[in-house]
Symmetry: C2
Subunit: 213 residues, 2 copies
């Protein structure tokens, strides 16, 4: 089972690593990290880099495609060759997935038109601009496309996919293997958050030139 995870500069690395940590535990999983070119791809702060072991020109198919997000997704969306590659790989997949604003890359590639989908809560407006129907769920499955909410939602999406591929027992074992027994200190939903907490985030995104839509 050939699993391809896209990497790019400005990636939110947990978007990629959440599904990676789950899916690599499936029997027969072979994961490849793929970039526009091979080589290091740095997070937006530059302080962590993951390596793209292959370039998109070397990868023509995937059983599962995972498209992570991050502030750098806008640069990915701006490149016709990247969108063409996403469309071409999508033709070959059993599952095409995204985490966080990776959904905007799928949207820009034109494969979410008329479909329900989710993304980071701050990007619902942009997602809708690609003809998708934004839905507030942890992840949304539409045919062979699964889009997950922000960042950490890729773990839940990965476990959902593991369950569909390998059944409940193995998916449960994977969950316990990564000891995913979460104890978040706060309510993690933006919909329940106090205004002053949301203000911190809206201001942070504004400094990056993003308005919450």
């Amino acid at each position: 089972m050939n699993i391809v995870i896209l990497a790019f500069d400005g990636i939110t690395v947990l978007d990629a690593v959440g599904p990676y940590e789950v899916l690599q535990r499936l029997p027969g999983a072979e994961i490849t990290i793929v970039g526009e070119t091979a080589g290091l791809k740095r997070t937006d702060t530059g302080s962590l880099a993951i390596n793209a072991d292959r370039a998109i020109s070397d990868v023509a198919s995937a059983d599962i495609l995972v498209v992570p997000g991050g502030f750098g997704e806008e640069q990915v969306r701006a490149k016709p060759a990247m969108l063409e590659w996403v469309r071409a790989i999508h033709q070959t997949t059993t599952w095409t997935t995204s985490v966080c604003t990776g959904a905007l890359i799928l949207g820009a590639a034109g494969i979410l038109k008329g479909l329900k989908a989710t993304t980071h809560w701050s990007a619902f407006g942009t997602l809708a601009s690609f003809g998708a129907i934004p839905v507030s769920e942890r992840f949304v499955e539409q045919g062979k496309i699964i889009t997950a909410a922000g960042v950490s939602a890729g773990i839940d999406m990965g476990l959902h996919l593991a369950r569909k591929i390998a059944g409940d027992k193995l998916a449960h074992a994977i969950q316990i293997g990564i000891e995913y027994d979460p104890k978040p200190p706060f309510d993690g939903s933006p919909r329940n958050a106090p205004q002053d907490v949301m203000r911190i985030l809206v201001d942070t995104y504004a400094r990056r030139g993003l308005s919450v839509t």
Copy 2:
């Protein structure tokens, strides 16, 4: 705030990336990924590599040290120079932390003697062999040392640390920023899991030469 995250071959990358994704969002956070030598460090399956941007010889202090785990931790523990470095950095830290079997590296460095600590559920016996007192908690704080349970527990530990450093409002904002509103499909505690699910894990670890203690 100088945050150092150790990387090594055989790392469980989510151990490192969970705290990374939380702590990098703290004001003034400067994160450095550090290895025995600089360069790519691959997960145990080899399919993902993160880059150590600095070698331990170049790093003499840290405000926060994060020691992740993974099957490769045993090789780290076997190297006196690595343990010496951990001990030396620990002298300079405000917080010394571990995720998953990273606690065994702290244990081997001799800094958990007589302290309560946690690690991946499969490694409690090894942790005790270093004189620590294993505790089944999501994370355990003892003075300036915080040890977290397996893999995904680093996210909870990171948020706990963010709360102590920057207060509830900002930590809550970080949690919502990474949309950490988990919806795990199963009960993630090994203590509540059916025997056949645990058997899958025990067999998997046995194939790697590890017995669950």
